[in-house]
Symmetry: C2
Subunit: 295 residues, 2 copies
Amino acid sequence: MAEPLFQRLCIIGLGLIGSSLARVAKERGGLAATVVACDTGPGVAARVAELGIADVVETDAARAVEGCDGVILCVPVGGFAGVMATIAPHLAPGAVLTDTGSTKGSVLRDLQPLLPAGVHLVPGHPMAGTEHSGPDAGFATLFEGRYTILTPPPGTDPAAVEKVAELWRRCGAMLETMDAATHDKVVAIVSHLPHLIAFTICSTADDLAQETQEQVLKFAASGFRDFTRIAASDVNMWRDIFLNNKPALLEMLARFSEDAQALGRAVRWGQADFIEDRIHRGQKVRKSLIALKQA
Amino acid sequence: MAEPLFQRLCIIGLGLIGSSLARVAKERGGLAATVVACDTGPGVAARVAELGIADVVETDAARAVEGCDGVILCVPVGGFAGVMATIAPHLAPGAVLTDTGSTKGSVLRDLQPLLPAGVHLVPGHPMAGTEHSGPDAGFATLFEGRYTILTPPPGTDPAAVEKVAELWRRCGAMLETMDAATHDKVVAIVSHLPHLIAFTICSTADDLAQETQEQVLKFAASGFRDFTRIAASDVNMWRDIFLNNKPALLEMLARFSEDAQALGRAVRWGQADFIEDRIHRGQKVRKSLIALKQA
Protein backbone atom coordinates (compact mmCIF):
# COMPACT_ATOMS: atom_id res chain seq x y z
CA MET A 1 0.00 0.00 0.00
CA ALA A 2 1.15 3.54 -0.75
CA GLU A 3 2.38 5.75 2.09
CA PRO A 4 -0.60 7.85 3.35
CA LEU A 5 -0.70 11.27 1.68
CA PHE A 6 -1.82 13.01 4.86
CA GLN A 7 -1.14 12.21 8.48
CA ARG A 8 -4.51 13.56 9.64
CA LEU A 9 -7.13 14.49 7.05
CA CYS A 10 -10.31 16.26 8.10
CA ILE A 11 -13.37 15.85 5.90
CA ILE A 12 -15.98 18.50 6.68
CA GLY A 13 -19.45 17.54 5.37
CA LEU A 14 -20.28 13.85 5.05
CA GLY A 15 -22.82 13.91 2.26
CA LEU A 16 -22.53 11.99 -1.01
CA ILE A 17 -19.07 13.39 -1.84
CA GLY A 18 -17.56 13.59 1.64
CA SER A 19 -18.72 10.11 2.62
CA SER A 20 -17.44 8.70 -0.66
CA LEU A 21 -14.01 10.18 0.09
CA ALA A 22 -14.14 8.68 3.59
CA ARG A 23 -14.96 5.31 2.06
CA VAL A 24 -12.02 5.55 -0.37
CA ALA A 25 -9.74 6.34 2.60
CA LYS A 26 -11.15 3.46 4.64
CA GLU A 27 -11.50 0.80 1.96
CA ARG A 28 -8.36 1.45 -0.08
CA GLY A 29 -6.11 3.37 2.24
CA GLY A 30 -3.36 5.65 0.97
CA LEU A 31 -5.21 8.91 1.65
CA ALA A 32 -4.54 9.50 5.34
CA ALA A 33 -3.22 7.76 8.42
CA THR A 34 -6.17 9.18 10.37
CA VAL A 35 -9.47 10.42 8.93
CA VAL A 36 -11.46 12.93 10.95
CA ALA A 37 -15.07 13.32 9.83
CA CYS A 38 -17.01 16.42 10.85
CA ASP A 39 -20.66 17.16 10.20
CA THR A 40 -23.11 19.35 12.10
CA GLY A 41 -26.23 18.04 10.33
CA PRO A 42 -28.84 16.36 12.54
CA GLY A 43 -27.89 12.73 13.03
CA VAL A 44 -25.14 12.76 10.41
CA ALA A 45 -22.15 12.40 12.75
CA ALA A 46 -23.90 9.55 14.59
CA ARG A 47 -24.63 7.83 11.30
CA VAL A 48 -21.02 8.23 10.13
CA ALA A 49 -19.83 6.67 13.39
CA GLU A 50 -22.28 3.79 12.86
CA LEU A 51 -21.06 3.29 9.31
CA GLY A 52 -17.50 3.16 10.62
CA ILE A 53 -16.06 5.11 7.69
CA ALA A 54 -13.90 7.50 9.75
CA ASP A 55 -11.38 7.14 12.57
CA VAL A 56 -12.63 10.17 14.48
CA VAL A 57 -16.08 11.75 14.28
CA GLU A 58 -16.68 15.35 15.32
CA THR A 59 -19.50 17.87 15.30
CA ASP A 60 -17.26 20.82 16.16
CA ALA A 61 -15.37 21.97 13.07
CA ALA A 62 -12.88 24.09 15.03
CA ARG A 63 -11.79 21.06 17.03
CA ALA A 64 -11.98 18.75 14.05
CA VAL A 65 -9.33 20.61 12.03
CA GLU A 66 -6.84 20.96 14.87
CA GLY A 67 -3.58 19.20 14.13
CA CYS A 68 -4.69 18.24 10.61
CA ASP A 69 -2.23 18.55 7.73
CA GLY A 70 -5.15 18.23 5.27
CA VAL A 71 -8.68 19.68 5.39
CA ILE A 72 -11.28 19.14 2.69
CA LEU A 73 -14.57 21.04 2.70
CA CYS A 74 -17.45 18.98 1.28
CA VAL A 75 -20.41 21.11 2.40
CA PRO A 76 -22.77 22.94 -0.01
CA VAL A 77 -20.98 26.05 -1.32
CA GLY A 78 -23.38 28.34 0.55
CA GLY A 79 -21.84 27.10 3.80
CA PHE A 80 -18.22 27.87 2.95
CA ALA A 81 -17.98 31.38 4.45
CA GLY A 82 -19.47 30.18 7.76
CA VAL A 83 -17.29 27.10 8.02
CA MET A 84 -14.16 29.09 7.13
CA ALA A 85 -14.90 31.67 9.83
CA THR A 86 -15.07 28.78 12.32
CA ILE A 87 -11.99 26.85 11.24
CA ALA A 88 -9.56 29.52 10.01
CA PRO A 89 -8.07 30.31 13.46
CA HIS A 90 -7.53 26.59 14.06
CA LEU A 91 -5.86 25.55 10.81
CA ALA A 92 -2.37 24.19 11.37
CA PRO A 93 0.57 26.01 9.74
CA GLY A 94 1.56 24.24 6.53
CA ALA A 95 -1.82 22.52 6.22
CA VAL A 96 -3.40 22.02 2.80
CA LEU A 97 -6.98 23.29 2.56
CA THR A 98 -9.01 22.00 -0.35
CA ASP A 99 -12.70 21.48 -1.16
CA THR A 100 -15.16 19.79 -3.48
CA GLY A 101 -17.48 22.76 -4.12
CA SER A 102 -19.24 22.97 -7.49
CA THR A 103 -18.49 26.68 -7.95
CA LYS A 104 -14.93 27.93 -7.71
CA GLY A 105 -15.15 31.72 -7.98
CA SER A 106 -17.31 31.75 -4.85
CA VAL A 107 -14.89 29.46 -3.02
CA LEU A 108 -11.99 31.83 -3.64
CA ARG A 109 -14.23 34.74 -2.60
CA ASP A 110 -15.23 33.02 0.65
CA LEU A 111 -11.97 31.33 1.69
CA GLN A 112 -9.07 33.50 0.52
CA PRO A 113 -9.69 36.55 2.75
CA LEU A 114 -9.60 34.39 5.90
CA LEU A 115 -6.73 32.12 4.88
CA PRO A 116 -3.99 32.10 7.57
CA ALA A 117 -0.44 32.65 6.36
CA GLY A 118 1.28 29.34 5.64
CA VAL A 119 -1.94 27.45 4.88
CA HIS A 120 -2.16 26.32 1.24
CA LEU A 121 -5.50 26.71 -0.54
CA VAL A 122 -6.04 24.36 -3.52
CA PRO A 123 -9.72 24.49 -4.60
CA GLY A 124 -11.00 21.39 -6.36
CA HIS A 125 -14.18 20.05 -7.91
CA PRO A 126 -14.79 16.34 -8.55
CA MET A 127 -17.19 16.13 -11.51
CA ALA A 128 -19.05 13.18 -10.12
CA GLY A 129 -22.32 12.62 -8.35
CA THR A 130 -25.63 10.88 -8.29
CA GLU A 131 -29.10 12.17 -7.50
CA HIS A 132 -28.78 10.75 -3.99
CA SER A 133 -27.42 12.55 -0.94
CA GLY A 134 -26.35 11.95 2.64
CA PRO A 135 -23.73 9.72 4.29
CA ASP A 136 -25.45 6.52 3.16
CA ALA A 137 -25.37 7.56 -0.49
CA GLY A 138 -21.57 7.56 -0.85
CA PHE A 139 -19.49 4.79 -2.39
CA ALA A 140 -15.77 4.30 -2.93
CA THR A 141 -15.90 4.11 -6.74
CA LEU A 142 -17.80 7.38 -7.24
CA PHE A 143 -14.80 9.27 -8.61
CA GLU A 144 -13.38 6.54 -10.84
CA GLY A 145 -12.92 7.60 -14.44
CA ARG A 146 -14.39 11.05 -13.70
CA TYR A 147 -12.59 14.36 -13.90
CA THR A 148 -11.60 16.44 -10.93
CA ILE A 149 -10.85 20.04 -11.81
CA LEU A 150 -8.34 21.97 -9.67
CA THR A 151 -8.35 25.77 -9.71
CA PRO A 152 -5.31 26.81 -7.65
CA PRO A 153 -4.89 30.60 -7.63
CA PRO A 154 -1.63 31.93 -9.20
CA GLY A 155 1.30 31.52 -6.84
CA THR A 156 -0.02 28.45 -5.00
CA ASP A 157 2.71 26.14 -3.69
CA PRO A 158 3.21 23.47 -6.38
CA ALA A 159 3.82 20.80 -3.71
CA ALA A 160 0.38 21.49 -2.19
CA VAL A 161 -1.27 21.31 -5.63
CA GLU A 162 0.49 18.02 -6.32
CA LYS A 163 -0.66 16.61 -2.98
CA VAL A 164 -4.31 17.37 -3.76
CA ALA A 165 -3.89 16.05 -7.31
CA GLU A 166 -2.45 12.82 -5.93
CA LEU A 167 -5.38 12.50 -3.50
CA TRP A 168 -7.76 12.52 -6.46
CA ARG A 169 -5.60 10.16 -8.50
CA ARG A 170 -5.78 7.71 -5.61
CA CYS A 171 -9.59 8.05 -5.82
CA GLY A 172 -9.39 6.97 -9.47
CA ALA A 173 -10.10 10.45 -10.87
CA MET A 174 -8.54 12.16 -13.88
CA LEU A 175 -7.12 15.61 -13.28
CA GLU A 176 -7.52 18.95 -15.03
CA THR A 177 -6.36 22.39 -13.98
CA MET A 178 -7.92 25.67 -15.06
CA ASP A 179 -8.68 29.10 -13.65
CA ALA A 180 -11.80 29.55 -11.52
CA ALA A 181 -13.64 31.72 -14.07
CA THR A 182 -13.25 29.16 -16.88
CA HIS A 183 -14.28 26.39 -14.51
CA ASP A 184 -17.43 28.28 -13.58
CA LYS A 185 -18.40 28.73 -17.24
CA VAL A 186 -17.73 25.10 -18.10
CA VAL A 187 -19.80 23.74 -15.21
CA ALA A 188 -22.53 26.29 -15.91
CA ILE A 189 -23.09 24.72 -19.31
CA VAL A 190 -22.43 21.04 -18.58
CA SER A 191 -24.06 20.83 -15.17
CA HIS A 192 -25.80 23.91 -13.73
CA LEU A 193 -27.87 24.86 -16.79
CA PRO A 194 -29.01 21.24 -17.35
CA HIS A 195 -30.18 21.16 -13.74
CA LEU A 196 -31.95 24.52 -14.07
CA ILE A 197 -33.68 23.20 -17.19
CA ALA A 198 -34.60 19.91 -15.51
CA PHE A 199 -36.11 21.66 -12.49
CA THR A 200 -38.00 24.01 -14.80
CA ILE A 201 -39.48 21.45 -17.16
CA CYS A 202 -40.74 19.43 -14.19
CA SER A 203 -42.66 22.49 -12.99
CA THR A 204 -43.94 23.25 -16.48
CA ALA A 205 -45.21 19.67 -16.87
CA ASP A 206 -46.71 19.68 -13.41
CA ASP A 207 -48.67 22.85 -14.23
CA LEU A 208 -49.90 21.34 -17.49
CA ALA A 209 -51.02 18.19 -15.72
CA GLN A 210 -53.11 20.29 -13.35
CA GLU A 211 -54.58 22.25 -16.23
CA THR A 212 -55.47 19.33 -18.49
CA GLN A 213 -56.31 16.94 -15.65
CA GLU A 214 -54.32 14.38 -17.64
CA GLN A 215 -51.76 12.26 -15.87
CA VAL A 216 -49.12 13.72 -18.14
CA LEU A 217 -46.29 12.06 -16.25
CA LYS A 218 -47.25 8.50 -16.94
CA PHE A 219 -46.20 9.07 -20.54
CA ALA A 220 -42.72 10.19 -19.55
CA ALA A 221 -40.83 7.29 -21.10
CA SER A 222 -39.87 8.98 -24.35
CA GLY A 223 -37.60 11.82 -23.35
CA PHE A 224 -38.91 13.47 -20.23
CA ARG A 225 -37.68 10.87 -17.77
CA ASP A 226 -34.03 11.49 -18.71
CA PHE A 227 -34.53 15.03 -17.43
CA THR A 228 -36.09 14.03 -14.16
CA ARG A 229 -33.22 11.95 -12.82
CA ILE A 230 -31.10 15.02 -12.29
CA ALA A 231 -34.16 16.98 -11.11
CA ALA A 232 -34.22 14.75 -8.02
CA SER A 233 -30.97 16.27 -6.75
CA ASP A 234 -30.35 17.76 -3.32
CA VAL A 235 -32.21 21.02 -2.68
CA ASN A 236 -29.68 22.85 -0.50
CA MET A 237 -26.74 21.94 -2.69
CA TRP A 238 -28.41 23.17 -5.86
CA ARG A 239 -29.85 26.35 -4.35
CA ASP A 240 -26.32 27.18 -3.21
CA ILE A 241 -24.80 26.36 -6.59
CA PHE A 242 -27.27 28.58 -8.45
CA LEU A 243 -26.72 31.47 -6.04
CA ASN A 244 -22.92 31.10 -6.14
CA ASN A 245 -22.44 30.83 -9.88
CA LYS A 246 -24.82 33.60 -10.85
CA PRO A 247 -23.01 35.40 -13.69
CA ALA A 248 -21.90 32.26 -15.52
CA LEU A 249 -25.25 30.51 -15.08
CA LEU A 250 -27.27 33.53 -16.24
CA GLU A 251 -24.96 33.91 -19.24
CA MET A 252 -25.43 30.26 -20.21
CA LEU A 253 -29.20 30.51 -19.68
CA ALA A 254 -29.24 33.54 -21.98
CA ARG A 255 -27.24 31.73 -24.67
CA PHE A 256 -29.41 28.64 -24.38
CA SER A 257 -32.60 30.73 -24.51
CA GLU A 258 -31.45 32.46 -27.69
CA ASP A 259 -30.67 29.09 -29.26
CA ALA A 260 -33.99 27.58 -28.14
CA GLN A 261 -35.89 30.56 -29.53
CA ALA A 262 -34.01 30.24 -32.81
CA LEU A 263 -35.03 26.58 -33.06
CA GLY A 264 -38.60 27.48 -32.09
CA ARG A 265 -38.63 30.11 -34.83
CA ALA A 266 -37.42 27.54 -37.36
CA VAL A 267 -40.28 25.27 -36.29
CA ARG A 268 -42.80 28.09 -36.68
CA TRP A 269 -41.57 28.97 -40.17
CA GLY A 270 -41.00 25.41 -41.31
CA GLN A 271 -37.23 25.79 -41.83
CA ALA A 272 -36.38 22.09 -42.21
CA ASP A 273 -32.67 22.71 -42.94
CA PHE A 274 -32.14 24.66 -39.73
CA ILE A 275 -33.94 22.00 -37.69
CA GLU A 276 -31.95 19.17 -39.29
CA ASP A 277 -28.71 21.03 -38.62
CA ARG A 278 -29.53 21.31 -34.92
CA ILE A 279 -30.40 17.62 -34.68
CA HIS A 280 -27.16 16.74 -36.49
CA ARG A 281 -25.21 18.80 -33.96
CA GLY A 282 -26.93 16.91 -31.16
CA GLN A 283 -25.83 13.64 -32.70
CA LYS A 284 -22.29 14.95 -33.16
CA VAL A 285 -22.08 15.99 -29.50
CA ARG A 286 -23.42 12.62 -28.39
CA LYS A 287 -20.80 10.86 -30.51
CA SER A 288 -18.06 13.01 -28.95
CA LEU A 289 -19.21 11.98 -25.49
CA ILE A 290 -19.12 8.34 -26.48
CA ALA A 291 -15.61 8.80 -27.90
CA LEU A 292 -14.55 10.52 -24.66
CA LYS A 293 -16.12 7.70 -22.64
CA GLN A 294 -18.33 10.23 -20.82
CA ALA A 295 -21.65 9.06 -22.30
CA MET B 1 -51.28 -19.46 -28.95
CA ALA B 2 -54.01 -16.88 -29.51
CA GLU B 3 -55.82 -16.77 -32.88
CA PRO B 4 -54.06 -14.20 -35.12
CA LEU B 5 -55.72 -10.76 -34.91
CA PHE B 6 -55.25 -10.07 -38.60
CA GLN B 7 -55.10 -12.41 -41.56
CA ARG B 8 -52.68 -10.20 -43.48
CA LEU B 9 -51.04 -7.27 -41.70
CA CYS B 10 -48.97 -4.77 -43.66
CA ILE B 11 -46.29 -2.84 -41.80
CA ILE B 12 -45.15 0.19 -43.78
CA GLY B 13 -41.81 1.53 -42.58
CA LEU B 14 -39.37 -0.92 -40.96
CA GLY B 15 -37.44 1.39 -38.67
CA LEU B 16 -37.12 0.96 -34.91
CA ILE B 17 -40.88 0.81 -34.32
CA GLY B 18 -41.99 -1.09 -37.43
CA SER B 19 -39.24 -3.69 -37.15
CA SER B 20 -40.04 -4.15 -33.44
CA LEU B 21 -43.68 -4.86 -34.36
CA ALA B 22 -42.52 -7.34 -37.02
CA ARG B 23 -40.39 -9.05 -34.40
CA VAL B 24 -43.30 -9.31 -31.97
CA ALA B 25 -45.39 -10.87 -34.77
CA LYS B 26 -42.61 -13.28 -35.67
CA GLU B 27 -41.32 -14.21 -32.23
CA ARG B 28 -44.58 -14.36 -30.29
CA GLY B 29 -47.24 -14.80 -32.94
CA GLY B 30 -50.83 -13.75 -32.37
CA LEU B 31 -50.65 -10.55 -34.40
CA ALA B 32 -51.16 -11.79 -37.97
CA ALA B 33 -51.22 -14.98 -40.01
CA THR B 34 -49.11 -13.23 -42.63
CA VAL B 35 -46.93 -10.16 -42.12
CA VAL B 36 -46.14 -8.01 -45.14
CA ALA B 37 -43.24 -5.59 -44.62
CA CYS B 38 -42.89 -2.61 -46.94
CA ASP B 39 -40.08 -0.07 -47.00
CA THR B 40 -38.77 2.07 -49.83
CA GLY B 41 -35.59 3.18 -48.02
CA PRO B 42 -32.29 2.19 -49.66
CA GLY B 43 -31.39 -1.34 -48.65
CA VAL B 44 -34.08 -1.59 -45.96
CA ALA B 45 -36.32 -4.15 -47.68
CA ALA B 46 -33.29 -6.33 -48.45
CA ARG B 47 -32.13 -6.10 -44.85
CA VAL B 48 -35.62 -7.01 -43.56
CA ALA B 49 -35.64 -10.06 -45.85
CA GLU B 50 -32.19 -11.02 -44.50
CA LEU B 51 -33.37 -10.63 -40.92
CA GLY B 52 -36.32 -12.88 -41.72
CA ILE B 53 -38.77 -10.86 -39.63
CA ALA B 54 -41.59 -10.75 -42.22
CA ASP B 55 -43.36 -13.29 -44.43
CA VAL B 56 -43.49 -11.02 -47.47
CA VAL B 57 -41.19 -8.08 -48.22
CA GLU B 58 -42.24 -5.34 -50.61
CA THR B 59 -40.94 -2.00 -51.84
CA ASP B 60 -44.19 -1.01 -53.55
CA ALA B 61 -46.70 0.23 -50.95
CA ALA B 62 -49.69 0.00 -53.32
CA ARG B 63 -49.04 -3.70 -53.90
CA ALA B 64 -48.09 -4.30 -50.27
CA VAL B 65 -51.47 -3.25 -48.86
CA GLU B 66 -53.56 -5.24 -51.36
CA GLY B 67 -55.69 -7.85 -49.65
CA CYS B 68 -54.58 -6.77 -46.17
CA ASP B 69 -57.16 -6.53 -43.38
CA GLY B 70 -54.69 -4.53 -41.29
CA VAL B 71 -52.26 -1.77 -42.31
CA ILE B 72 -49.97 0.06 -39.91
CA LEU B 73 -47.95 3.09 -40.95
CA CYS B 74 -44.62 3.32 -39.16
CA VAL B 75 -42.89 5.96 -41.31
CA PRO B 76 -41.89 9.42 -40.04
CA VAL B 77 -45.02 11.58 -39.85
CA GLY B 78 -43.79 13.81 -42.68
CA GLY B 79 -44.25 10.87 -45.05
CA PHE B 80 -47.89 10.13 -44.19
CA ALA B 81 -49.58 12.23 -46.89
CA GLY B 82 -47.41 10.71 -49.61
CA VAL B 83 -47.87 7.13 -48.45
CA MET B 84 -51.62 7.62 -48.08
CA ALA B 85 -51.92 8.98 -51.62
CA THR B 86 -50.20 5.80 -52.83
CA ILE B 87 -52.10 3.25 -50.77
CA ALA B 88 -55.61 4.73 -50.44
CA PRO B 89 -56.95 3.34 -53.75
CA HIS B 90 -55.62 -0.12 -52.84
CA LEU B 91 -56.92 -0.45 -49.28
CA ALA B 92 -59.31 -3.39 -48.91
CA PRO B 93 -62.89 -2.66 -47.81
CA GLY B 94 -63.27 -3.31 -44.08
CA ALA B 95 -59.53 -2.99 -43.47
CA VAL B 96 -58.24 -1.35 -40.30
CA LEU B 97 -55.70 1.41 -40.92
CA THR B 98 -53.59 2.44 -37.97
CA ASP B 99 -50.19 4.04 -37.41
CA THR B 100 -47.45 4.74 -34.88
CA GLY B 101 -46.85 8.41 -35.65
CA SER B 102 -45.71 10.69 -32.84
CA THR B 103 -48.15 13.49 -33.76
CA LYS B 104 -51.84 12.75 -34.08
CA GLY B 105 -53.46 15.97 -35.33
CA SER B 106 -51.25 15.80 -38.42
CA VAL B 107 -52.13 12.14 -38.97
CA LEU B 108 -55.85 12.93 -39.03
CA ARG B 109 -55.13 15.89 -41.32
CA ASP B 110 -53.14 13.73 -43.74
CA LEU B 111 -55.12 10.47 -43.72
CA GLN B 112 -58.80 11.32 -43.19
CA PRO B 113 -59.45 13.18 -46.46
CA LEU B 114 -58.22 10.22 -48.53
CA LEU B 115 -59.80 7.47 -46.42
CA PRO B 116 -61.93 5.15 -48.60
CA ALA B 117 -65.44 4.40 -47.34
CA GLY B 118 -65.48 1.23 -45.25
CA VAL B 119 -61.84 1.52 -44.15
CA HIS B 120 -61.48 2.12 -40.41
CA LEU B 121 -58.89 4.65 -39.24
CA VAL B 122 -57.60 4.17 -35.66
CA PRO B 123 -54.54 6.38 -35.10
CA GLY B 124 -52.13 5.19 -32.42
CA HIS B 125 -48.86 6.19 -30.80
CA PRO B 126 -46.67 3.76 -28.86
CA MET B 127 -44.74 5.85 -26.31
CA ALA B 128 -41.60 3.81 -26.64
CA GLY B 129 -38.30 4.21 -28.39
CA THR B 130 -34.57 4.34 -28.11
CA GLU B 131 -32.03 6.67 -29.67
CA HIS B 132 -31.30 4.03 -32.32
CA SER B 133 -33.05 3.66 -35.67
CA GLY B 134 -33.40 1.32 -38.63
CA PRO B 135 -34.50 -2.32 -39.01
CA ASP B 136 -31.60 -3.65 -36.95
CA ALA B 137 -32.50 -1.45 -33.97
CA GLY B 138 -35.88 -3.08 -33.26
CA PHE B 139 -36.57 -5.67 -30.57
CA ALA B 140 -39.68 -7.56 -29.52
CA THR B 141 -39.82 -6.19 -25.95
CA LEU B 142 -39.72 -2.51 -26.94
CA PHE B 143 -43.38 -1.86 -26.08
CA GLU B 144 -43.56 -3.83 -22.85
CA GLY B 145 -44.82 -1.83 -19.91
CA ARG B 146 -45.06 1.31 -22.06
CA TYR B 147 -48.20 3.21 -22.95
CA THR B 148 -49.75 3.26 -26.38
CA ILE B 149 -52.18 6.13 -26.87
CA LEU B 150 -55.06 5.68 -29.33
CA THR B 151 -56.82 8.73 -30.75
CA PRO B 152 -59.81 7.38 -32.73
CA PRO B 153 -61.92 10.20 -34.18
CA PRO B 154 -65.53 10.36 -32.88
CA GLY B 155 -67.72 7.76 -34.59
CA THR B 156 -64.94 5.23 -35.24
CA ASP B 157 -66.15 1.61 -35.31
CA PRO B 158 -65.60 0.26 -31.76
CA ALA B 159 -64.63 -3.17 -33.12
CA ALA B 160 -61.79 -1.61 -35.13
CA VAL B 161 -60.61 0.34 -32.08
CA GLU B 162 -60.68 -2.85 -30.00
CA LYS B 163 -58.68 -4.73 -32.62
CA VAL B 164 -55.91 -2.13 -32.58
CA ALA B 165 -56.02 -2.01 -28.77
CA GLU B 166 -55.65 -5.80 -28.66
CA LEU B 167 -52.69 -5.62 -31.06
CA TRP B 168 -50.88 -3.38 -28.60
CA ARG B 169 -51.89 -5.47 -25.60
CA ARG B 170 -50.29 -8.44 -27.34
CA CYS B 171 -47.13 -6.33 -27.67
CA GLY B 172 -47.14 -5.88 -23.89
CA ALA B 173 -48.27 -2.24 -23.98
CA MET B 174 -50.73 -0.44 -21.72
CA LEU B 175 -53.54 1.44 -23.46
CA GLU B 176 -54.90 4.96 -23.16
CA THR B 177 -57.43 6.75 -25.35
CA MET B 178 -57.68 10.52 -25.75
CA ASP B 179 -58.46 13.06 -28.44
CA ALA B 180 -55.73 14.05 -30.88
CA ALA B 181 -55.37 17.61 -29.56
CA THR B 182 -54.81 16.47 -25.96
CA HIS B 183 -52.36 13.83 -27.18
CA ASP B 184 -50.39 16.44 -29.08
CA LYS B 185 -50.10 18.66 -25.99
CA VAL B 186 -49.09 15.77 -23.74
CA VAL B 187 -46.35 14.54 -26.08
CA ALA B 188 -45.21 18.11 -26.70
CA ILE B 189 -44.30 18.43 -23.02
CA VAL B 190 -43.11 14.90 -22.21
CA SER B 191 -41.25 14.18 -25.43
CA HIS B 192 -41.01 16.89 -28.10
CA LEU B 193 -39.93 19.79 -25.88
CA PRO B 194 -37.30 17.64 -24.08
CA HIS B 195 -35.89 16.74 -27.49
CA LEU B 196 -35.92 20.37 -28.65
CA ILE B 197 -34.09 21.31 -25.44
CA ALA B 198 -31.59 18.48 -25.82
CA PHE B 199 -30.76 19.42 -29.42
CA THR B 200 -30.45 23.05 -28.38
CA ILE B 201 -28.17 22.61 -25.38
CA CYS B 202 -25.83 20.45 -27.46
CA SER B 203 -25.46 23.32 -29.92
CA THR B 204 -25.03 25.86 -27.14
CA ALA B 205 -22.29 23.74 -25.53
CA ASP B 206 -20.61 23.12 -28.86
CA ASP B 207 -20.46 26.89 -29.53
CA LEU B 208 -19.00 27.51 -26.07
CA ALA B 209 -16.36 24.84 -26.60
CA GLN B 210 -15.26 26.57 -29.80
CA GLU B 211 -15.17 29.93 -28.06
CA THR B 212 -13.25 28.90 -24.93
CA GLN B 213 -11.11 26.29 -26.70
CA GLU B 214 -11.88 24.10 -23.70
CA GLN B 215 -12.96 20.54 -24.23
CA VAL B 216 -16.20 21.33 -22.46
CA LEU B 217 -17.72 17.97 -23.28
CA LYS B 218 -15.29 15.84 -21.38
CA PHE B 219 -16.84 17.18 -18.20
CA ALA B 220 -20.32 16.07 -19.19
CA ALA B 221 -20.79 13.47 -16.47
CA SER B 222 -22.73 15.62 -14.04
CA GLY B 223 -25.96 16.45 -15.82
CA PHE B 224 -25.27 17.18 -19.44
CA ARG B 225 -24.88 13.60 -20.58
CA ASP B 226 -28.47 12.76 -19.57
CA PHE B 227 -29.57 15.32 -22.15
CA THR B 228 -27.41 13.98 -24.94
CA ARG B 229 -28.80 10.47 -25.10
CA ILE B 230 -32.05 11.73 -26.56
CA ALA B 231 -30.18 14.26 -28.70
CA ALA B 232 -28.78 11.31 -30.68
CA SER B 233 -32.22 10.54 -32.12
CA ASP B 234 -33.12 10.10 -35.77
CA VAL B 235 -32.94 13.33 -37.80
CA ASN B 236 -35.80 12.74 -40.24
CA MET B 237 -38.18 11.52 -37.59
CA TRP B 238 -37.59 14.49 -35.32
CA ARG B 239 -37.64 17.11 -38.06
CA ASP B 240 -41.04 15.69 -39.07
CA ILE B 241 -42.33 15.65 -35.50
CA PHE B 242 -41.37 19.26 -34.90
CA LEU B 243 -42.95 20.39 -38.16
CA ASN B 244 -46.12 18.38 -37.54
CA ASN B 245 -46.79 19.36 -33.95
CA LYS B 246 -46.08 23.06 -34.39
CA PRO B 247 -48.80 24.75 -32.28
CA ALA B 248 -48.50 22.43 -29.27
CA LEU B 249 -44.70 22.42 -29.36
CA LEU B 250 -44.44 26.20 -29.65
CA GLU B 251 -46.93 26.61 -26.81
CA MET B 252 -44.93 24.28 -24.56
CA LEU B 253 -41.67 26.02 -25.53
CA ALA B 254 -43.27 29.35 -24.59
CA ARG B 255 -44.46 28.01 -21.21
CA PHE B 256 -41.08 26.45 -20.52
CA SER B 257 -39.26 29.64 -21.52
CA GLU B 258 -41.40 31.73 -19.16
CA ASP B 259 -40.68 29.28 -16.35
CA ALA B 260 -36.94 29.16 -17.12
CA GLN B 261 -36.78 32.97 -17.18
CA ALA B 262 -38.63 33.09 -13.85
CA LEU B 263 -36.05 30.76 -12.32
CA GLY B 264 -33.24 32.76 -13.93
CA ARG B 265 -34.71 35.94 -12.42
CA ALA B 266 -34.83 34.28 -8.98
CA VAL B 267 -31.14 33.39 -9.37
CA ARG B 268 -30.29 36.97 -10.36
CA TRP B 269 -32.13 38.44 -7.38
CA GLY B 270 -31.09 35.78 -4.89
CA GLN B 271 -34.62 34.52 -4.17
CA ALA B 272 -33.68 31.32 -2.35
CA ASP B 273 -37.31 30.37 -1.54
CA PHE B 274 -38.37 30.44 -5.18
CA ILE B 275 -35.34 28.38 -6.20
CA GLU B 276 -35.94 25.82 -3.46
CA ASP B 277 -39.59 25.53 -4.47
CA ARG B 278 -38.61 24.70 -8.05
CA ILE B 279 -36.11 22.07 -6.94
CA HIS B 280 -38.74 20.55 -4.62
CA ARG B 281 -41.15 20.32 -7.54
CA GLY B 282 -38.50 18.54 -9.56
CA GLN B 283 -38.08 16.01 -6.77
CA LYS B 284 -41.86 15.60 -6.51
CA VAL B 285 -42.16 14.90 -10.24
CA ARG B 286 -39.29 12.43 -10.11
CA LYS B 287 -40.99 10.61 -7.21
CA SER B 288 -44.25 10.45 -9.19
CA LEU B 289 -42.42 8.83 -12.09
CA ILE B 290 -40.88 6.27 -9.77
CA ALA B 291 -44.34 5.55 -8.29
CA LEU B 292 -45.73 5.17 -11.81
CA LYS B 293 -42.82 2.88 -12.73
CA GLN B 294 -41.90 5.22 -15.60
CA ALA B 295 -38.59 6.41 -14.14
